[in-house]
Point group: C2
Chain length 293, copies 2
Amino acid sequence: MLCESATSTLQPDKLITGPGIKQLEKSAAETLFVAIEPWVSNFGKVNLLLAGMVGSNLGWREAPYLSCPLDARRIGCALLVFEERGHRVAIVPGVSCVNALGQPDVMRGEETQILGWMSQNPESLGGTRLLCLPGTHTKWVQLADGELQCFTTSLTGELFSILRQHSVLIPQQDINRVPDFHADSFRQGVRVAIEHRSDLLHAVFSTRVRGLIKKDEFFDAGSYLSGLLIGFDVQSALNTYQDSNGIVELIGAGDLSGKFAMAIEQMGYRSKISDGNQSVFAGFAAIAAGVQH
Amino acid sequence: MLCESATSTLQPDKLITGPGIKQLEKSAAETLFVAIEPWVSNFGKVNLLLAGMVGSNLGWREAPYLSCPLDARRIGCALLVFEERGHRVAIVPGVSCVNALGQPDVMRGEETQILGWMSQNPESLGGTRLLCLPGTHTKWVQLADGELQCFTTSLTGELFSILRQHSVLIPQQDINRVPDFHADSFRQGVRVAIEHRSDLLHAVFSTRVRGLIKKDEFFDAGSYLSGLLIGFDVQSALNTYQDSNGIVELIGAGDLSGKFAMAIEQMGYRSKISDGNQSVFAGFAAIAAGVQH
């Protein structure tokens, strides 16, 4: 949940964090007002602009999805606006589509990030772009002439996390330590993905067996698993979105984006990394600038 | 862990169960002798024939792997034999191979099941057979003229279980109930696997979104997820082992094997189900009959 007073200057150093949707102990509204108490003390009445799961059916109020294809600049015209405790609240709608696999797909929050990225990269309004927003639920997004054409959600991050914690793939002693990153093991995972792209379910057990039989001189199961999953993810996406001009625009945290960049490079493509937080702030700023809410 | 007195008649109704390798609170040996106390009381000294994780480096004593290709009847010639508390103990070796993806792979316990199935299906000693042993770690096994040629382990069962328990894919209220089975939702999952066989990571999020947007008149997320995973698993295996004569020999529990049979049929292949417990007993019997241990 991200929010900011639209009347103050938007700056990353004003970031306030609070519990996510699955960690709420009170209602979304109460949790929000606890988190932003410093702003309310400072500014009095504030205009709140919210995006993400706060607008889902598990959040505060449901902001209906806009459908693709969608002019991203239209997102700011479809805010769900209401008043709470004397403050004006606006929730950014999510976006839905039928994805490249013919399946229904949704995003909430990423649309604001994408809009922000577009406002920071105005040349992106012409031609096609393939965006990748790595995360728990990685989004692969096709832009064409400033329109959000279609996107696909991949379970990469969540799958890595639960396989690491709950499967037999990772050695017991590694489960609770902070994961290191070993580039060689990661690249081996990517290589297996490249060679066997239709076989994730069959390839992933090799994470366990490689450690067991000590085939490799040095082997880090976590980095290998990360390489496998990111490798399969990138491989699928590049196969699906073939008209990406050979470059992937990564929007997200630097360390995770860096791993996607490695896999993309290993497959002979290029990428460019943009900071995910900066994109969110730019997205909120773009919406706030366009709306008297 | 399965064991039986080789000197008594082997019968399924003499099954005794105890904790698996991950649930051990005492040493493997102590746990075993607690479990088989009724046999020891009844028979005195017993000959113990053990297979499975008891022979792994996490088990009691490590029985080295035999390598593929392997005449399955040789398994009984490579038992690890020792004495404990005056009883004779023999542990069946596991089997290793380089699988169809070029990755190292291992099995422990399934070799005994396969040997048992072969002894019950002597016609299998000629020609090629594709066996599938559905389970936590599903094994796909290629037999040729009675030789174990190669096998591949798939994470199907474990992945289903941890995605069901720990991911956002399954609605909260369904996580702790006993899963029902809804054939229509299952078949939808298989269909998506058939149509998009290289995209498991991208397809699996549809489990969540289909429930969210209520695209389907009736939708059971668990059955759909099961169909997706089993569908991807079967699809990969049929693609890998194309010389399977169009028939898959399923060896395992009836309900799970039945789901694999549904997916196999949906892909235009045939299957035959053999009871997994009967195969284990037949395997122990075959080994015990061939060895004075």
